[in-house]
Symmetry: C2
Subunit: 199 residues, 2 copies
DNA sequence: TCAAATTTGATACGTATGTATTAATCCTAT
DNA sequence: ATAGGATTAATACATACGTATCAAATTTGA
């Protein structure tokens, strides 16, 4: 799919609209307008609003997968602790680069309908299970305290990493800080690593 | 306002609907139906959808204030660290008891429109500023590492506390765990305290 | 008891939405 | 050049929404 094809422009616009307004909050007319095209093109390329939404989610999860796996080849040469630090860092970079994914997930989680079930079955379950497995290994190697259940560990760590970017509009509004700027991202990485791994 | 008055039943129903579907996702017809009454009653008591929504938010923030201030009288007799533990615990209890507030805040944060500005100006700014001040004191007393900026500290801590309950529908769906049960809440409190305060 | 406040039920209006269809036009690769 | 895919533009339809109005019925409190 070429970068500037109508189909890809629609995907980009839909990512922005669904990410900023949720599924029900965004309209196909709005998406078509943002992509400088028309509703007919959506019907032609994606057939329905729901299919377009699924294409957006699939695309974002592919990007997440790439981001997480980015340094996988280097893992054998890393300590258990460095693996956690590395994947935490890469995950935070991803959250900053594609905040739409977590916004979409959270929108659907709050509404708790068929679309959440679709995300859970097709994408999230896999990621959570893999994260849980990795966390458990790190925990066995003394990176995290052993008394905490792995599930709590995963959710606390993921939340700590994500939420600053989810709350970006508020932070900007209340403190005038743009959390997507590189130095702010680095500060956040340092904070999370230090707090969760008492480095 | 009596517990079972139409006005209070509307507020309850609206809390549930707005908490589970967001502002645009919820309809006044749905709220009226859930409260076993009709649209006319909404018009009569709250005049508009937006006013009803504001009443819900005001009510939830009042409950938050009560929860946070609950043990305030005991603070002078507590160590800086115990103050943090106590307020963290009370905050987590609140998040579990009224998950609708954080859902509403997050919905509006994602959409980043006039309603977010209203929440920020009328409620959140105050809470964040107070939390920041308390965090700074705790940090000066060695409860938290001093290298981290207070803003990052506040957001990481708040996120770690909230998110498990925001993700409740997913956790239930993926792991069959009800995070609102008392033992799960306690496990979460322990996890957050241990991870953030390396107790 | 009686007036005021509250509640019900119905109707209506304008607007926005997702979906669908169709015909014409443009682009591209064979 | 030509066929098939891609794109545009316009129109249409049923549905749901927030808001508004109004009359009647019911409840409440002095």
């Amino acid at each position: 799919m070429k970068q500037d094809s109508t189909k890809s422009k629609l995907l980009q616009a839909a990512t922005s609209v669904f990410g900023n307004q949720g599924y029900s909050g965004g309209s196909v007319r709005q998406i078509a307008e943002m992509a400088n095209t028309n509703i007919g093109a959506i019907k032609y390329h994606y057939s329905s609003k729901e299919q377009l939404w699924k294409a957006v989610v699939n695309h974002l999860f592919n990007k997440l997968s790439e981001a997480i796996m980015q340094d996988f080849a280097l893992w054998p040469s890393m300590s258990p602790r460095d693996r956690v630090v590395n994947s935490t860092r890469n995950y935070i970079y991803f959250c900053a680069k594609y905040p739409e994914l977590n916004r979409i997930i959270l929108s659907e989680t709050i509404q708790n309908g068929d679309r959440l079930h679709w995300i859970a079955e097709n994408h999230m379950r896999f990621f959570i299970e893999r994260s849980t497995a990795w966390m458990a290994i790190a925990q066995e190697n003394g990176v995290y305290p052993k008394e905490i259940s792995v599930l709590n560990l995963v959710f606390v760590a993921m939340s700590a990493a994500q939420n600053l970017f989810l709350m970006a509009p508020f932070v900007e509004h209340a403190f005038g800080i743009d959390v997507f700027k590189n130095d702010q991202i680095e500060k956040h990485v340092d904070a999370v690593v230090k707090l969760l791994l008492n480095e």
